[in-house]
Amino acid sequence: MISRLFTFKGGVKPDSHKDESAGAPIRKAPLPSRLTIPLRQSTRAMARSVVEPGQRVLKGEVIAAPEGPMCIAVHATSSGTVRAIEAQPVPHPSGLPAPSIIIEPDGEDRWLELKAFDYRSATPQQTRDFLRDCGIVGLGGAGFPSHIKLGPGEKGIETLILNGAECEPWITCDDRLMREHPDGILSGALIMRHITGARRILVGIEDNKPQAIEAMRAAVGRTSEAEIEVVAVPTRYPAGGEKQLIRVLTGIEIPYGKLGTHFGVQCFNVGSAYAVFRAVEHGEPLVSRVLTLSGNMAHPGNFDVLIGTPIRELLPLAEPRADTDRYLMGGPMMGVALQSLDMPVVKGTNCILAGSPVLFPPPPPEMPCIRCGACAQACPAELQPFELYWFSRARIFGKAQEYDLFDCIECGCCSYVCPSRIPLVDYFRFAKGEIWAREKEKAAADTARERYEFRLAREEREKAEKAAKLAAKTAAGREKAAAALAVAQKPAATPEEDAKKALIAAALERARAQKEHVQPENVGNLTPEQQAEVAAIEGRRAEIRDMAKPHLPQED
């Protein structure tokens, strides 16, 4: 039993707007007209397609194999035909295209034959490999592969935290999932506990979701497992941030550059736990997720959506109002503007928010920083956003790094409280991107320098080798000339040399005779027709030779 809860510094309390979408049960979204499944998973992971256009696939079939340790398998999310493998815009803030597999569903939605996985008799490594092949990633948004997070870490995992905080306003997909499938989530968590060997499970849920807390507690009561606790955490954004939730539940403050595993804590989204349960107990790869459609919509709600469904086909389910002028991917605090409605739903898409000038007014003009320090009080990472802002704005990136820019979780609390309405997070994202780009450039320059220096060294070595060879050759030539001179100076050949010459002449004669005896191998046993053909060819050759003769240049 947890004796007390801890707190994290900072944070804000925006209007939660959960009631709009939390009331109705999760509905299954209809089959879309096409599925666009991106192959790129992160900057370090791109799966390799194993299907061809025109190929028929079943729901749950592997269509791209993992490449590298950070990669997971990609599955067809419905049965149908692979239409193309081409670059398509992906849900990324850039809106740029990346390689994707396009599947046209046949309407049958027929599953591949599924087989449950017996994790109790498998080693943790086998279970992790199975989860990788089922395409399980964190469903909280970042999409980090779960099989890596379930790894043993440095000192093993003692506490497993299930993150059901869902602190972003408007989003209710985890809330609904916990209300409707608490037993599945719990089973997933128990499987995770089995893999990691953790002692206890803590489920952290913000106290503005009493029904979810109730449902999870009831599920815990139904199991016979010990050391599981559902904890209501105070509602304060960003309580669902990984480091913040770990801090609230365990009191551990994770320093820069360290992960929860360094302190024996690992944190998973409740959706990920449910996906692990579906994969292990039912053999189902991760082909769908629950997603909130909310904001400026007539019927907001949560939907079970196939991965790859175009957002355009999803929106009519919630009926966006007429004055909707833009869409956000994710919540209002951390979400990014959706560049195109043709983008597909991916594993990290937890919410599509419709915005209107009334509901989410466009950002008011930025005013000068008045150095009030409100951002520093709100920052849950205990940074000084105003300092970071000055350095990012002035492009003094080294200084920004000194002030721990990379500890920023981009939660948006600073922008939310800023009385001058400065889009601070935009500046931090810009600075982070520039620093990463510079690091990449630096690495490329270092490689180029190394390769250039190697080339210079190689050229130098080759030159030396050539010079040495030439010197050896000239020396040999000189010796020969000297020897020849010596021979010429000798008046007459000795009888010994005559004998040698005779021997050489005899050898040459033998070699010539042998050459004459050797016959081409494939000219014997020819049929008369073949002989006639050969004769004709020879004749033509002779003719050509004759024709060419007068034109041939005179050669020695």
Binding site: S94, L96, P97, E366, F430, A444, R451, Y452
Partner: protein, 183 residues
């Protein structure tokens, strides 16, 4: 009196020996300033500065023989960094050495390549693979975009292609406030 002189002399000898030892023991190989300048230069090895590579240019800057604004691939940012390092005034890029271009890589039209190996010999970072009378190709990841392979090609089958922005290379832009027209 004599004692004091002896003590001072002894001190001088001991300190001198320590300094002499330190000079040998902690001797710095190479010129640290050249290294620092070289670290700022983009390592394109293009020779646009008039020196055969980035290191010789760095040496020339360190000796004061070359100006800091002769490196087009380094661009204005590179000049700013050099100016900061050397405590000099910033100067705009000298036009006679070229202009700052977007980062590009060489691409060989493999249909047209005759396999003459001239570009392979010209490439300062060995980023072109191929052999005599065999098709050549550029290893894009290693190409510095120096353009040194373009001139030697007898069939003009090498072009410079600007590197396209992908999801992986995309960066958040500098925040700007859109100006809205008032009605």
């Amino acid at each position: 009196m004599l004692e004091a002189i002896l003590v001072m002399a002894l001190g001088a000898v001991v300190l001198g020996a320590a300094l002499g030892y330190a000079a040998v023991r902690f001797r710095v190989e190479g010129d640290p300033l050249v290294e620092k300048i070289d670290a700022i230069l983009p390592q394109t090895q293009c020779g646009q500065c008039g020196f055969p590579g980035c290191k010789p240019y760095a040496q020339a800057i360190a000796k004061g023989e070359a100006d800091i604004n002769c490196c087009p691939p380094g661009g204005e940012e590179g000049i700013h960094k050099l100016a900061d390092l050397l405590g000099r005034e910033f100067k705009p890029l000298s036009a006679e050495h070229g202009i700052e271009k977007p980062k590009s890589v060489a691409v060989i039209d493999e249909q047209a390549c005759i396999g003459c190996t001239l570009c392979i010999q010209a490439c300062p970072v060995d980023a072109i693979v191929g052999a005599a009378k065999q098709m050549h190709t550029v290893v894009a990841a290693q190409c510095t975009g120096c353009e040194l392979c373009i001139a030697p090609c007898p069939v003009d089958c090498i072009v410079m292609e600007p590197i396209k922005e992908t999801v992986d290379t995309w960066k958040w832009k500098y925040p700007v406030i859109p100006l809205r027209q008032s009605a």
